[in-house]
């Protein structure tokens, strides 16, 4: 199986450690992963903001770049949903590649058939199911199955977990007051768990929630699911 990593433009630019964690994790599980350097962006920001003319070339370039691979793994539920749900509707030629795209937890549980990836992360963690992972990709409890198998990790339930954090892409800027109010309520729920770390399958949402967390106190950090799963006793996270 030839596996490509679609790191996403946001992770590539702002959160490279998440991409590195995916590479480390898949190698540890015995799978080589390639990074096709022609990749850029799935087009979600432009598409969801209404700038459709910009999107079609990105969709075509995505399909071309990832055509040679059997599976495309991405540490973003939101971008995976954009590719799987929307790329075929924007350009029907993109359908075959789009159907090979998996969010990381889906890839691990459904394709590789593992839930215990041999990770070690001795912290109290709560998990926020991001809206696109929950309602578009419908990845269900796959991330929780993976987290429950992590040694040392104490998983605590997040109150009102399925409520949106308020990120919403350019919504965070266009309706910043409402976005911040939703984020503040999410942060209150996170703090109520007493967790040391908040985990999710999307760094975009984590960037928003994390931005409010650091602004209002030093107590909780955000960590992408991939980084917890890549962490081991020999090579711990941070």
């Amino acid at each position: 199986m030839r596996i490509a990593l679609f790191v996403t433009c946001l992770n590539d630019t702002m959160f490279p450690d998440t991409g590195k964690a995916v590479v480390r994790l898949l190698r540890r599980l015995g799978h080589e992963v390639e990074f096709p350097a022609a990749q850029t962006c799935c087009g979600q920001m432009h598409f969801n903001t209404g700038y459709r003319k910009q999107v079609t070339p990105m969709v075509r370039s995505f399909a071309e770049t990832f055509a040679p691979y059997d599976a495309v793994v991405t540490p973003s539920a939101s971008c995976a949903a954009m590719v799987r749900d929307w790329h075929p509707r924007i350009d029907s030629g993109a359908a075959p590649v789009a159907s090979n795209v998996y969010e990381l937890a889906e890839f691990l549980v459904d394709v590789l058939g593992v839930t215990d990836v041999g990770a070690y992360y001795p912290h109290r963690v709560t998990y926020h199911p991001t809206c696109h992972s929950l309602r578009m990709l419908k990845i269900g409890d796959r991330p929780l199955q993976l987290l429950r198998a992590v040694r040392g990790l104490e998983l605590v339930e997040l109150p009102d977990a399925t409520e949106c954090c308020g990120f919403g892409g350019t919504f965070a800027l266009k309706n910043s007051e409402v976005s911040a109010a939703m984020g503040a309520d999410k942060v209150a729920c996170v703090r109520a768990t007493g967790a040391e770390a908040l985990c999710a399958a999307d760094n975009s949402c984590l960037m928003h929630i994390g931005g409010i967390l650091t602004r209002t106190g030093p107590d909780v950090r955000t960590v992408h699911l991939a980084e917890i799963l890549a962490s081991t006793e020999e090579d711990p996270h941070e």
């Binding site: 450690d17 850029t40 809206c131």
Partner: protein, 488 residues
């Protein structure tokens, strides 16, 4: 509101709501109102949980939802046929059907009908269609007083306020506020009225009873119309509807053309979907049905006003037309995290929440700042689509209308330029890598502890309430290239 104002913009209009500020401005103010947020959070939180249990009781909910969707889609596809059939059956049963192209025409028809009776007062059953066309205000200009008889609509009307929810128009008010409104604005309210729900309801009951008994003309909306028999259906909880539909001599009903259903068998599906989705009840307390007029029983004169007001244009939009499936249950409002913080008034329309964000810009056209802002009034979390009993993919329509707003709405040169620049950068891995190197180089200029406290320009909207992460020393692609994918 002058007739000129109702005609001068968009495809159709909601006259009462012209001149509202765009959503972000109105919502920004509402978010700061802690009492409003408290009222909304309490009310929507309660109804959310109740709806979930009401829906969970039925093991065929998904099939019902699919049936509801298909019946609506079929009817919309053959709308001309079913509307003509409805007209034929109602006419045969002694009623009169009127066709109104827009709000102004519908208001004119209703006002003329009321004037022809010689009366100057009407009682009203809660109706979204008449809110949409601004009927009460139009009647007032003709010297006709309309009395709302739904409890929440009465609270809104007495408070000289606007409804903020489809089902619970006074959801933004708490008990104490309602008591104050009754004490100051309801002439026959007891002076020692408390804020206990029973006392408030009793005061409203006594106040309304006098209106029901004296009214000679009633105006209602319509939840469903069964074409095969020409029967109209109104669902309600308080019995005020039953009073209005049966006691007066003249009944005028205003109905959006999308409300028609082919058969009674189809109605059965919606009588399950609507109450569970809207009030979380197995069945609503009062369901009234009537067909034309029946001598010696109920109104002697019945008129149905069929309202287009932008619906035909909406029907022509292959993606947007699904909004016409809406049965006004308000489940999408109750689950919407944006509605729960912004409240209904911010949507600048009698249709608030997610459904309003896709319905108002389609009915009115996307040309005004408020209508162009509505498709963006969502984080695209998808909770509305999940809750919708007729499976309207609201996020899909929102994104569709955003593209329309960019093409046809008011221009935002700064945003357009930024999106074009971002698109240009993201289309090329070389340009993206260069942008990443620039970002990484700027790293030492910003923030301590890896966090940026304040960003310049439009990005300030982010850092006003949140830190932003500082760019990393090296992008992922730079790392991959430098280390040969971590191998060296």
């Amino acid at each position: 509101m002058s007739e000129h104002a109702t005609r001068d913009r968009g495809r159709a209009s909601m006259p009462t709501y012209l001149g509202m500020p765009p959503f972000p401005e109105a919502a920004g103010k509402a978010v700061a109102d802690t009492r409003l947020r408290g009222n909304l959070a309490h009310a929507t939180g309660t109804i959310r949980d109740r709806r979930l249990s009401a829906v969970a009781e039925l093991d065929d909910w998904d099939a019902l939802r699919e049936a509801g969707k298909q019946i609506k889609d079929h009817t919309l596809e053959h709308l001309d046929h079913y509307l003509l059939l409805l007209e034929e059956k109602i006419t045969a049963a002694g009623g009169t059907v009127h066709w109104a192209r827009d709000a102004a025409e519908a208001n004119r028809i209703v006002a003329d009908l009321v004037r022809a009776t010689g009366h100057t007062e009407v009682v009203k059953v809660k109706s979204m269609a008449t809110q949409e066309i601004g009927l009460n205000e139009a009647l007032a200009e003709e010297g006709i007083t309309a009395y709302e008889t739904d409890l929440a609509e009465l609270i809104v009307q007495l408070g000289d306020d606007r409804p903020s929810h489809i089902l619970v128009p006074a959801i933004h008010r708490n008990r104490a506020e309602i008591r104050d409104i009754f004490r100051s604005r309801m002439p026959d309210a007891p002076a020692d009225l408390s804020d206990s729900p029973a006392e408030l309801a009793e005061a409203a009951r006594r106040h309304l009873r006098a209106k029901f008994l004296s009214a000679k003309v009633a105006v209602s909306g319509v939840n469903f119309a069964v074409a095969e028999t020409g029967t109209l259906v109104v669902l309600e909880s308080e019995g005020n509807g039953r009073m209005c539909l049966t006691l007066p001599e003249t009944l005028i009903s205003v109905m959006g053309i999308e409300k028609v259903l082919p058969t009674w068998q189809d109605l059965e599906v919606f009588l399950q979907l609507l109450p569970r989705s809207s009030t979380a009840e197995r069945m609503n307390p009062y369901t009234s049905t009537w067909t034309g007029v029946t001598p010696g029983d109920g109104p002697r004169d019945f008129h149905l006003v069929l309202l287009d007001n932008g619906r035909t244009d909406t029907l022509a939009d292959q993606v947007g037309r699904q909004a016409l499936r809406c049965i006004r249950c308000s489940a999408c409002l109750n689950v919407c995290p944006v509605y729960a913080r912004a409240g209904g008034h911010a949507y600048g329309s009698p249709y608030p929440g997610p459904i309003g964000a896709i319905l108002s810009p389609q009915i009115r056209g996307i040309g005004s700042p408020v209508d162009a802002s509505l498709p963006y009034a969502s984080s695209l979390c998808g909770a509305c689509f999940e809750a919708c009993p007729v499976a309207i993919d609201i996020p899909e329509v929102l994104v569709h209308l955003r593209a329309e707003a960019v093409e046809e709405g008011p221009k935002h040169p700064l945003v357009g330029t930024a999106m074009a620049a971002a698109g240009w950068t993201l289309r090329s891995p070389r340009r993206l890598a260069l942008a990443q190197r620039l970002a990484s180089a700027s790293r030492r200029l910003v923030g301590r502890r890896g966090q940026i406290r304040r960003l310049p320009g439009p990005l300030r909207a982010w850092t006003d309430s949140r830190d932003a992460p500082a760019p990393p020393p090296e992008s992922f692609r730079a790392w991959w290239k430098r280390t040969n994918g971590g191998r060296s």
